[in-house]
Amino acid sequence: MKGYTGKFLRVDMTTGEIRTDTLSEETARKFLGGYGFVAHTLYNEVPEGADPLSPENVLCFWTGPVAGTPVPVSSKYIMGARSPATGFIGFGIASGGPASELKAAGWDGIVITGKADSLKYLYVQNGHAELRDASYLKGKTTWDTEEMIREELSDEEIRVSSIGPAGELLSCLANVTNDRNRQVGRSGMGCVMGSKNLKAIAIRGTGNIEVAHLDELLELCKDLYQRCRGPATEKYRVLGTPANVLVHNRLGCLPTNNFQQGTFDRAEECSGERMLETMVKKVMACPSCPIACDHINVVKEGPWAGAVSSVDYESLELLGPNCGVSDLGAITKAVQLCDTLGIDTISAGVTVSWAMEAYEKGLLTREGTDGLDLRFGNDAAMVEAVRVMCLREGKLGALLADGSARAAERLGKGSEFAMVNKKLEWGAYSLRSLQTATLGFATSVRGACYLRSGSYQPDVKGTVDRYALDRSRGKVVFDGENLYAVIDSMIICKFTRGIYKDNDEFCRVINLVTGWDVTSDELIKTGERIHNMAKLFNVKFGAHRTDDYPPPRAFDEKMYDDVSDGAIILREQYDEALSGYYEERRWTEDGIPTKALLEELGLDVSLGV
């Protein structure tokens, strides 16, 4: 089996037992890798009713067939588990060294269960794996953890995926960081690591990566590298994703002040253009990436001098304009706190903006904020709120540490403006002025998510009426999800999606790596199977139609700004669009896959109706 090692590690944190298991070709062909393997593993192995923070929860780390090959931006891995944030399927994908190193060390993935009696880290090196004492890493930041493990093992080439203090403190927002700037960000995978007393996974491999048709693959890759330097990726290379700030501001879909508005009067001050001019010291790449989108900010002067972090659109927007903040120094600092202390920037930004709205509405008092003047636009208060949230410090930290939905529950008020779906915070796209996006975000299996279907694209490109919904939008989300499921299972970077001529060329990459002869229709069907497997996991944990709705603000309040003034989602239109989506998916009106569909996809029909 080329492209795969055909092996994965099983680690029992409770007993310390580590063994190698076999990955069958049947599983590989059916679920491809990455997202597919996560859905397959979790569905089959997480016991019914298992609490996300219990030893029974299964935490997996998977690569895909292309990791370690010269395919552009292919060194990517996924971590998955039942999410402590949503209660449904949780996962996050990160670029960086750990993926290719694991392949070179001899395994495609790692499946972790149980809970260690003290803090440990997993060290994997060329056919050898062991749990090592991590007590000296307790409370350390992710950046320090990487350095300290390399120092302990005297090997600078070791790649580390670790959690910060927030993960140890079991924050539902906790992420996993590798290579300093890359994160398994969403749905609390760092929290699950913390619950297993697993501080880090450190990997070093020097073996060969086996590819079926290496010469042909390299020839194709040479061409793909050139395309990665062309117009399809220019946005990512030059301004990086923060290019979206001014674009979205013009379209009235730049979430501002906790999604109340779609334009920000100081957008220029925190635009991608301004950031490149005043903050960016270097644009860096992940391993195997010919694009380089990672804009590293170094703050030279002012109150945030010395702050360093990689700032992308989502982080910038949600910690910036969505909190009424335009100071790029403060934003850079807040992102650094999130990355090093270990929480997801998206959830962090939306949780702070929720707290700011609660504060301005008088629901959260100054006593409740430990004296912090938490109004929109207060840069220093935003940064401090992020810090206490990461460390669960004081009243405010305790309130916010697990995200906005739980903060509203604890406060007993403000849930109507907690901008979440399945209790996971919304990405940096307005709901009411990007309504196809909203359907895609709200139906996402892992909670509010822009990465599951790219459903914002037709709205932003103007190929649909973005201020209204109808039944046909279901197909937009359906098509996007199936293709993205393939991309996330291979796993390659979504920023390369524009460099491929068509799905056939995608297919050619998989076939050259694996030696298979898959057609693009089969591949898209595989994407559909994978997505349904993930959905079945959610059904197993009680998902219904009611879980696929946006927060109340979408239906109950009109936007007020210059561009999208008065925009609102009509509930009956959303109902219709959601039914259209279910129909396209061949799910029932309650969002449950039908037996006929599951049979056709070769999945367990017992949960179907």
Binding site: G68, P70, G205, T206, I209, K282, P287, S288, V308
Partner: protein
């Protein structure tokens, strides 16, 4: 005699993608294995990247260090490790100022950049997506540095 050409890296352009390492291993080892690349990427956090290969030193310290005379100089100025003489002691690796030599994890012998002899130039240079690598003479490197410095002065004056 032709002026010697080496692989130089523009650290402003190098993004740390490591594709030079992938490509090098594919051409030399017929498999993907970046630990066997003749060129080495080094990152110093937070914002510095460079890729380094053999510098074709006039009096190579690696040759001096080798107790078994396993390293010889080639006509183009590169060094070659004779595999049957090398016993993997690694003194040459220690001696090299640039970290340009590496030990093969499997064969336990040292290897060095051969500038893709017979291939019409180094493959890492050909594949580098960022045009950060150049196969050039020291004369040209010096000239380009001068032009760059002068351009900066002009920009500042303007």
């Amino acid at each position: 005699m032709e002026a010697k050409k080496i692989i130089v890296c523009d650290t402003d352009k190098c993004s740390g993608c490591e594709l030079c390492e992938y490509v090098c291993s594919i051409f030399h080892e017929k498999t993907v294995n970046w630990s066997k690349s003749r060129i080495r990427h080094v990152r110093i956090e937070p914002t510095f990247d460079i890729a380094i290969a053999c510098r074709k030193c006039e009096e190579p310290l690696c040759i001096k260090a080798c107790p078994r005379d396993a390293i010889i100089t080639m006509e183009d100025g590169s060094v070659k490790v004779e595999k049957d003489k090398c016993n993997g002691c690694g003194w040459c690796i220690e001696a090299c100022n640039f970290g340009a030599l590496k030990l093969d994890w499997d064969k336990k012998v040292v290897f060095a950049c051969d500038f893709c002899e017979g291939e019409g130039g180094p493959k890492c240079v050909e594949f580098c997506p960022y045009d950060a690598l150049e196969f050039t003479t020291l004369d040209q490197v010096g000239r380009e540095a001068g032009v760059k410095a002068f351009k900066r002065i002009i920009e500042e004056l303007e």
